[in-house]
Amino acid sequence: MNFLQDPLFGLTITIGAYAIAKGLNRKLPWLHPILSSSAIVLIVLALLRAPIANYQVDVELLTSLLGPATVALGVPIYKHRQLIRERLAAISVSVLAGSITGIVSAGLLVYVTKGSHEVLLSILPKSVSSPIGIEISKLVGGTPELSVMFSVVTGVIGGVWGPAFLYRLGMRDPVSFGLAMGSAAHGFGTARSLQESETAGSFSALAMGLTGIVTSLLFIPIYIALG
């Protein structure tokens, strides 16, 4: 099937799946669009026996656009600069606490459930977006491919089930909501927070960036300790 070789194939099914998932989400609010859209793409690829490696080449345009989309998060952050200034203490302390919790809890849970050493090292940077996770993983001797996967799955868990969890704990304040989502689930959490409100989205974007920076810095002593 020659049409499977055309990059338009991968782009069409991805954007098509996204549009369908958005529509489904309006009828079935519990079905998060990231789950339904990815499932649709996986099903179409499986039915047509199209290799995932080819698909990933097709959609390089979309993965490249994640760069400018991340830069674009500067706009909501800039618009909320006044509120950010007022909450600077809460932002820095909560993000620092969240970053430490992310590394320590992931490492401890894998350790007590007797996961392999490779998994333990690769899971440590799971709270940050995968480009930062890759670098940290290489630094401590983890497997970068595993770290990318862990960071994506973390994003999905936080982005999909995070809001219900936070609401159950009574965190309706958009500032705390956004900080928690961005620090726990990086870009996925930020995408979800932006749907909640622009304020939540901008604090999530800020927490995502800061968690990336703080986590990278926290790994310098870990790296030295590992020798």
């Binding site: 993965t63 400018p68 706009v75 952050i77 392999s116 799971k126 958009p174 705390s176």
Partner: protein, 116 residues
């Protein structure tokens, strides 16, 4: 298209800085920091970029689909470690949500609560 060009430019400059100066942050985060710097310095006007930025951030999830598809393809290869991975990822994600959210809520200025 001016907005798109600016956002693409910052993203690209971020990648160039990451590659040449070996800054331990990904290119897109470096680009975001530089872009924020230029907004604050008023080198870039908000109205030049607002429309393009809104379009991209509104559909942020779209750009993650390829990553989720790639991650799903790796799941069958995890073998015996999958329980440990699931416990680690789920437990830790909720732990971070709880800690960050609680700390942020505790440190919220009291007089501001009514205005939210």
């Amino acid at each position: 298209m001016r907005g798109f060009a600016i956002l693409l430019g910052f993203s690209f400059i971020g990648v160039v800085i990451h590659d040449t100066l070996h800054v331990p942050l990904p290119g897109n985060v470096i680009g975001l920091l530089l872009f924020l710097g230029c907004l604050f310095a008023k080198i870039i006007k908000l109205e030049w970029v607002e429309e393009s930025a809104n379009l991209l951030t509104r559909h942020l999830l779209l750009f993650f689909i390829p990553y989720v598809v790639g991650a799903a393809a790796l799941v069958p290869l995890l073998g015996n470690d999958w329980v440990s991975i699931a416990v680690g990822l789920i437990g830790s994600t909720f732990a971070v949500l709880w800690v960050t959210g609680k700390v942020a809520l505790k440190m919220q200025p009291k007089e501001k609560e009514g205005s939210q």
